[in-house]
Symmetry: C2
Subunit: 447 residues, 2 copies
């Protein structure tokens, strides 16, 4: 009976696992150098926790389960509610600002499609406990630092930035009441994904006054921050929001030197309800891919989950869309070629080596295991073949395992010599065994 994997999940065979590690290890490395500390929570939490504050789409897609005690649980669809729960739990003990990252595995019961799976990984970085816009700039810088690290240039990707605060100020100025803001955000967030006619019809339902609707569309199309006043006129709240966004941009351009990656785009709204300030998404310049990542400032999440009102800003980047883009740009293969064994130890099968009295001391197979053990002891990745297979087959295996160097123990070992084959150039030379070992820092006493 053959059993398949569940639809929307992935099997990570070694080649796919290497790609996943390339992505996840990069996330970790960049987080650490930008001063974030790693955390994680459980894979499942109480169902109600996600129902409180995750977006409707996410709540509809929860994988729920019941434990033996009848408690309703759910596989986590995002890590932010867990983060809020954890921070609330130790709110007085944690030094602020809290600057944490995580690379959780997440689950959403949605229809699997390109760039969207039911099980995926997501890089999350968050700075909690400061309303300094420098923190927003740092979240965006760290995101760019990763993109740059994996080889994506400002020609490949752009960070599109806007601000919920700005959007709210603009909408209020042109006559939208506060109660109408939240449903309007959800619609505006979908603007670039909907056909123009559909968007316009839906907008007309929410904003019957066609003049106001036109102003909203005009604002969404603004290309430069300085043009906003042409659409909405002068307003103190709008000005303050503009200044804030301009300051984030200044940090990124002047102090962090990544201005070429960033641009203002008022069509960036973000779907989730909890954003309150600067918001951003990263998009590939070419093609029809979904956003590579998104984030922004959220000021009420901890509060909604039973904690104090503390300002926070963060970013989430999934692995699926990113991997599609990295593969498209040829940035994955390059990395994978570098992986493999340091050494493969082979032998001419069945040779015996005698001691001074002419007694059998060892076989070539024994010496393979002994040498491999020494290499591993030094932290080097080393492997060999089982059984007495021909030398040709052993060399084939060395090549399959992408070994950098292949050692061959043959007749020359009687004179304490081994053959060392460079698997890249194919060059082979005879070396004294002691010399080879001591070059690797393996002394006589360690043997």
């Amino acid at each position: 009976m053959k059993i398949p994997p569940v639809k929307g999940t992935r099997d990570f065979y070694p080649p796919e696992m290497a790609v996943r590690n390339f992505i996840v290890d990069g996330w970790k490395k960049v987080s650490l150098r930008n001063g974030f500390e790693e955390y994680d929570g459980p894979i499942f939490e109480y169902l109600k926790m996600f129902q409180i504050k995750s977006g409707d789409e996410i709540v509809e897609q929860l994988f729920s389960l019941t434990d033996r005690g009848g408690r309703d649980l759910a596989l986590r669809p995002e890590i932010t509610p867990t983060l809020a729960r954890m921070v609330n739990q130790r709110i007085n003990a944690l030094p602020r600002p809290i600057k944490w990252f995580s690379v959780p595995r997440l689950f959403r019961a949605e229809r699997p499609q390109k760039g969207r799976l039911r099980e995926f990984f997501q890089w999350n970085i968050d700075i909690i406990g400061t309303d300094d816009v420098l923190a927003d700039a740092e979240i965006i810088f760290t995101t760019i630092d990763y993109l740059r690290q994996v080889g994506l240039t400002s020609e490949d990707v752009k960070v599109k930035m806007s601000s919920r605060r700005l959007l709210a100020a603009v909408l209020r100025t042109i006559g939208i009441c506060d109660a109408a803001l939240e449903p309007l955000y959800a619609l505006l967030d979908k603007k670039t994904k909907l056909p123009e006619g559909t968007f316009r019809a839906l907008l007309a339902q929410q904003v019957p006054d066609s003049e106001v609707a036109e102003k909203i569309e005009a604002f969404m199309d603004v290309k430069k921050i300085s043009q906003i006043k042409n659409v909405v006129g002068l307003d103190d709240d709008v000005d303050a929001a503009v200044d804030e966004l301009a300051m984030v941009h200044r940090f990124l351009r002047e102090d962090m030197e990544v201005g070429e990656y960033c641009k203002f785009d008022p069509s960036i709204v973000r779907g989730l309800a909890y954003y309150t300030g600067v918001v951003f998404e990263v998009h590939a310049q070419e093609g029809e891919l979904r956003a590579i990542c998104g984030g922004g400032r959220y000021d009420n999440l901890l509060c909604d989950l039973g904690g104090p009102s503390i300002s926070a800003t963060g970013m989430g980047m999934g692995d699926c869309v990113l991997e599609i883009l990295l593969r498209k740009k040829g940035l994955v293969e390059k990395e994978l070629q570098r992986q493999g064994l340091d050494f493969f130890v082979a032998c001419v099968p069945g040779i015996t080596f005698d001691d001074q009295d002419g007694l059998v001391k060892s076989t070539s197979e024994d010496e393979v295991v002994r040498l491999t053990t020494q290499l591993r002891k030094k932290g080097l990745c080393a492997d060999f073949s089982y059984r007495s297979v021909s030398l040709g087959k052993q060399l084939k295996q060395a090549s399959e395992r992408n070994a950098g160097t292949c050692i061959i123990i043959g007749e020359e070992f009687k004179d304490d010599k081994i053959a060392v084959k460079d698997m890249t150039t194919g060059e082979q030379e005879l070396l004294g065994y002691e010399e080879f070992l001591s070059n690797l820092g393996i002394g006589r006493e360690e043997k």
Copy 2:
């Protein structure tokens, strides 16, 4: 409304996460240097897959869930069925032997207790496609290589080895029929965990002949392989199983030089039904902890999951018992002290620096962000404080973040000098800014 984590799960705050990473990264590193390649499967699989071959205890403890299509799924309680499924799926394409490792997150709905949680991590190494006992030896060596790497000596832990093949041969020789073997394995596996009287009563139920039962107990107490014949007399199958076990021991002692960690112990049976050859467990020498890990040869698992009959051998080590032991031996704290920021960049708040024309070029806060950016660009872990907090508070933060070095940008920066404070010794010196940067390989053009 405050929401707690689900019972039996863990929140990994940065200090706990550092311990988890210390354990999991060590598993990965040791696997790679011993020639294993990493794989992983999905967190959930079809429920029936686990019902086929996992032990009864495991099946009872499954976390099951139903997806929108009404399919019965379960969170994985172990990775081996997934491994078998994945190998079966590509059986003709995979080069053999398959030598893979994984560090999956696993789930068991059991009563949380010391060393047992509902959600945990488990290191798995497996070699599939060879019946060479060298592979069994390598599984055990790799296990020991990890234990040694984290600082556990042969005084701290011992690998107790036996063989299902040997046990079967012994039991058959003394008159147990084949059908009675499997329930008997389950009982014998519990011998060391049950009070003597309870074990004896349960054994009498399965083996009514008291002479046979006594022989079984006598075999379980044998301390040396050479004593087996005193209990069961001479038998070809027993001899062959003994030879096999002796050869594994010889590899470990002579070629891999870890003999001091290994000993024969016939009370090692392993609970799971699928073992067929060499079996082993690692136990702490002191205290009442459960086994740190266990493993052995399993020859029918792939076959039972719809694949061909291929021999395999492997090991699984959870993180919970291991962590208790590592903490008890003081091996965790040592590692954690080493972690922290490379640099914390601080400043005397509010200083302005002028350019040649006397115009404000930057503030001390700007220069903090600029220097930090340069350090991060070089891959160094660097951080700073938000807002203008006093220098004292910044230094306190540097210390909390376990920074190796703290840089202070003060009045001296007007003369292109910075203060560099070694946080371990407390020593502080003034250095030229350019000199400091060029020592780190940061050139003028990169600034």
